[in-house]
Structure formats: C-alpha cells, structure tokens
C-alpha cells in the first residue's frame, strides 16, 4: 500500500521538496549569527635556560712567592678550571706571558745574546693541547698561547662540578742578568679560561678549531660589548 502511494509522482515531488528545503535554508542564512559554540584550551610549557659558568683557581699559588723575584726562580702556579655551571662545557685557556729584549745567562754562566724572550716559562700538563701559533702583541710585548682541554682532534667535555687538571704546575722566571730595567717592575702572567656548551655548537661541532671559532667570535662580541659599556660609563663619569 505504501509503495503504491509513493511510486506515482516520485520525480516531481522530489524536485519540489528539494526546492522548498533550499528555500528555507536560504532564508535563514540571511540572518546573522551572534553566538556560537566554542571551546578553548591552553598549555603552558616551561623551559630552563642552561648556564655555562667556570671558576679559575690556582690552589698552589702564593702571591708572596712572586715578590722580589730573582732570576731563574721557580714558583708553584697551577691554574685549573672548575665547571660550576649547569651544563657540561668545552674548556679553552689562554696564557699570556710578557716578553722583552733581554740578555739571559745559561746554567754554566755563559751569556746569551740579547733577544726577545719570554720572562716566564712553564710546561704544559697532560690533558691540555696547544692550539695554533703563539700570538704576539708587539705593542704590549705579550705572547699569548691558546690551549684546549682535550686533544687536537676533539674537545673534551668538562662535566658539571668537575675540574680540569692544572694547565701547568709551576712557572719559572727567566735567568736574566741585572741592569735591564726589570728591577722593581711588576710583570703579569695572565690566564683566561673560556667555556662553551658541548651541544649544538654550530650544528654539533666538537673539533677544537671549529668550536674555538664559534667561542672566540662570541667572546669577541662580549668583549666589545663590555668595552662599549665601559666607555659609556667613563664618558658619563667625565661629564659628571
């Protein structure tokens, strides 16, 4: 019975019904919608920025031993670096020693000719490797050597709260003869330590040469900035 009822005008009715339904929808679409079903959800992520921090110590150093130095005097000086940061670090060190044009005496008492010589000498300890050539600052008359904690091929990571072996153990004053204007002067041996994160350095580089390239660039930037800040402070003080 139902089938008979619906079979008769199927096509016509279907079209009519569709048109009407569309009509109703069209009318309603013109009305504006003021409220909507909505939802909101939030996440908060926490990140802690790491920290590279080094402490340079010389436990065997006694400043009193460095007073009134006599030629050929050997003093204990053992610079070593402790990682007191939050992340492992690759360690580099620069040692600057003054040099002068001086005459020195050999062990047998014979004199050497006058030439530029470093006023202090030391022996590099195991675990450290010298990188590149000696950098000489003619103006300041200072020789600077760069060392890496590790080998020539790879930096060694210094873990948190660990310390490196001393870069050297002792330092010896040159066996100079008197009367070369060294008497009663102060001569400085400067040791600087640098550290950099062990991960993600220029895409994961670990060779000392490449790591130092990144580190020195950044160090240069920091130095320049510090210098600028200092200059600005000086200018302000002068104005005051």
């Amino acid at each position: 019975m139902r089938k008979n009822m619906t079979k008769n005008k199927i096509g016509k009715k279907f079209v009519k019904r569709t048109v009407l339904a569309v009509g109703i929808t069209g009318i309603m679409m013109t009305g504006g919608v003021l409220a909507y079903f909505t939802d909101t959800s939030s996440v908060v992520n926490t990140f802690t920025v790491g920290k590279i921090s080094l402490e340079l110590t010389e436990p065997g150093w006694n400043p009193e031993n460095a007073k009134n130095l006599t030629p050929g005097k050997c003093m204990e000086k053992d610079p070593q670096i402790t990682n007191d940061g939050k992340n492992p670090a690759f360690i580099f060190a620069e040692v600057s020693v003054p040099y002068r044009k001086i005459i020195t005496v050999n062990a047998d008492g014979s004199k050497n000719s006058s030439e530029k010589q470093e006023l202090f000498t030391y022996t590099l300890n195991e675990g450290w490797t010298e990188l590149g050539e000696v950098n000489k600052d003619e103006k300041k008359e200072v020789s600077t050597r760069l060392y890496v904690y590790g080998s020539e091929a790879q930096c060694k990571a210094l873990e948190v709260d660990k310390k490196t072996p001393p870069i050297f153990q002792t330092i010896t004053f040159a066996n100079v003869i008197e009367g070369q204007e060294l008497e009663e002067t102060a001569q400085n041996v400067t040791v600087s330590a640098y550290g950099i994160q062990t991960t993600d350095v220029n895409g994961g580089k670990t060779s000392p040469e490449e790591v130092w390239k990144v580190l020195s660039g950044q160090t240069e930037f920091v130095r320049n900035r510090e210098k600028t800040e200092k200059d600005e402070q000086d200018t302000t003080k002068k104005k005051e």
């Binding site: 619906t6 009715k13 909507y36 926490t46 802690t48």
Partner: protein
C-alpha cells in the same frame, strides 16, 4: 452448562472490548517523533616529542641552550563537531623572537594582525591539526637568559564552522567573538540521525478504514546535530484518499525534557490547493502546541503539504551544547476515538493505555460475575 456459556460469553466480550479500544486509537491517530540533539565544539591539545621515530608524551622543563633544536609536536584533536581553530603563542620573553624559534608549522596556518595563527581549513570531526613540530633556540640567544625560566603559553580556540564564515584576509579573521571553554566533557560522541529510506514523508488518511497512517517514525531524520544558527526544514505530504473532506488535528508533547527546547523555534505551514497557512510559529515548548488544534482540512481525494522547520537561534551559547530532546507529534482526525484527552502526552502513555484496558476488563469482569450471581439467585 449455562454457567460455562455465560463465562465464555463474558470473556469474549472482554476481549472484544480490549481489541476495540486499541483499534480505535490506532484508527484515527498516528504519531511521529521529533528528535533533537545539539552539537558541541570541543578540542583537546596534546604535546609530543619525537625520538628515534617514535612519539612520546612531551616532558616539560627541558634545559635549553643556544643553537639547540628539539622536537616538540603540538597537536589539536577535534572532539566535537566541525570547527575552525586558532592559536596564540605567547612567551615570557620577546614574542617576535619566539616565533623565530618555532619550526614545522604547516601552510594551513596563517598569522593575522591580531596575533593569532589561524588554521584555515575546517577541522573535521575527529580531525587532527598540527601547530608546529619543534623549537630551535637561536645561536645568538642572549646569555642574559642564563638560568632563567621561560614559559611558553599556547592558547587554542575553537569555534563552530557551521554558520560561521571567517575572513582570513581581515585583521581579525574571526571578528569580535567571545570564546569560552566548552562546559561538556571532551569525550563527545556525535549522534547522527540516519535518514530513513523513504521518498518522502507522508501522512495519509485512508477513508475506507477511517484511519491515519504515516510512513516514517521521525520527522527529522536527515540532520545530525543542531548548532546555533541552524535551520532544518522538511516537507510531509498530506493525503486524503476518502470520498469526503477530512480535517486533521495535531498536538505535541515533550518526551525528553531539555533546556534545548526553550531555545528551539518551530514553524509549521500547511498548503492545501495552493493556499498556504501558517499553523504555528514559535517556541517548540509552547503550551499552545500541547492542545489539539486544526492543522488543515484536506478535500476529498486531494493532497497537500505540511512544511515544518526548526531553528536553533543565534543566541544559543555553550550552555546549550550537547543536549538532546524528543518531541512527540500526534495527528488525528476530527472523529478520532481515543480514550485520552488530547493533552501533552508523557513518556508513560503506553502505561496509561494498559491501565485503561485493565480497568475496562475489571469492570466487565465484575459485571459478568454480578450477572452470574443474579442468575443463581433466580434459580433458587
């Protein structure tokens, strides 16, 4: 022997009465149901990190260093109906730098001037969108941040895609909309009402049997869920196969209570011989609908249409999300014989019918017994 005959007669009478009562209701009345369900917009955010090709849940508070690149996958899961989504990424640090840190954001996302990243496609039901895949800390990340705790806040907003048209070229593609959190649990299941396989809905008066019949159970069998701004309409064909005019009446009753009913607007129009008449236009819960009222009069051997539509008004907000309701429609002819007054029927209608039949049977039984006892008395 007479006693047995009498009891048998009484029983037959009872059965006849019961049958007649049920038939009388079926003859002049037909019912249709009208199920509603509102949708819900719900999204869930999950974060992962990829390690050796495997996804694991994101572990918060990693230590970050300049140049560091790490996997952090943020995915948005649609747990509701189709919607649009947007994201705002904020940091305790400079926001512009933060944008540079994020990588792996798909082209579907577009940043607008209002600071939100808008996902341009509609996020389908059960769909997933990925906001980004990881973070790369710049090589020149300032050392001033050492040991600092940085917080990255990501807000995800979702809005129904139906009846909503964002303008992705605008300064604020969603315009001025208030986004509030869905009040519902986010394990939402979409109930889709399947359309019955009928050419069209028909309500037919069969003159020869003086009965009303329909070929469907539910008015709206062709929509899934109601969203604010939605209108669903359909047409039923009204037929009179009798040789005489017939007047059709109707009333409605709520079968499943819901606040949703307070919002839904109903419009009924009857069209007979090209003449349209608005039968009702108003809230679906109105008392007027619960009273028997004339739908139309169909001339002999004629047909007409009944157009009906429900509208979810645009003032519906999240309070009305994911609600369901059901309304019963009762159609009858003028001469319909029923045991009940045409008032709003409740879910317990069937129980009432059984009770009525039982009462009739009880009265009839008592009558038979009374007649039997009188017969005995007369004998003695």
């Amino acid at each position: 022997m007479n006693k047995i005959k009498l009891i048998a007669t009484a029983l037959c009478f009872l059965m006849l009465l019961s049958t007649l009562s049920v038939q009388s209701k079926a003859a002049g009345i037909t019912e249709l149901w009208n199920s509603f369900r509102s949708g819900n917009v719900a999204v869930e955010v999950k974060e992962y990190e990829e390690k050796d090709g495997e996804l694991t849940a994101w572990k918060d508070n990693p230590v970050i260093m300049p140049g560091m690149e790490f996997s952090k996958i943020l995915r948005i899961y649609n747990k509701g109906v189709e919607c649009y989504i947007r994201a705002k990424i904020q940091s305790t640090e400079d926001n512009t730098r933060l944008e540079q840190m994020i990588f792996g954001m798909g082209k579907e996302w577009k940043k607008a001037l209002d600071g939100y990243f808008y996902y341009r496609p509609v996020l389908k039901e059960d769909g997933v969108a990925e906001l980004f895949q990881g973070i790369k800390i710049p090589v020149d990340f300032s050392q001033e941040h050492e040991e600092k705790i940085l917080k990255l806040k990501i807000d995800i907003d979702a809005i129904q895609s139906k009846n909503f048209s964002p303008d992705f070229e605008a300064e604020s593609p969603w315009g001025m909309v208030e986004i509030i959190e869905s009040e519902k649990e986010k394990n939402y299941t979409i109930n889709t009402y399947k359309k019955e396989k009928i050419e069209e809905l028909e309500i037919v008066y069969l003159g020869e049997s003086d009965s009303l019949m329909t070929n469907a159970k539910d008015f709206f069998t062709n929509f899934s869920v109601l969203m604010p701004g939605d209108t669903f309409g359909d047409i039923a064909v009204l037929k009179n196969t009798a040789e005489k005019d017939v007047s059709l009446y109707f009333y409605t009753g709520v079968l499943e209570e819901s606040p949703l009913l307070d919002m839904i607007q109903l419009k009924i129009q009857a069209e007979i011989n090209g003449e349209k008449r608005v039968v009702y236009d108003g809230n679906i819960r109105a008392e007027a609908l619960a009273k028997k009222q004339l739908l139309c009069t169909i001339p002999a051997k004629s047909s007409g249409t009944l157009q009906f539509s429900v509208h979810a008004p645009d003032k519906m907000d999240n309070r009305y999300a994911e609600l369901g309701s059901c309304v019963k429609w009762v159609f009858m002819t003028e001469k319909s014989r029923t045991f009940f007054l045409p008032s709003a029927p409740k879910t317990g209608d069937s129980v009432k019918e059984i009770v009525c039949i039982a009462v009739v049977m009880l009265v009839s039984g008592m009558g038979s017994l009374f007649a039997l006892s009188r017969r005995k008395k007369n004998k003695y």
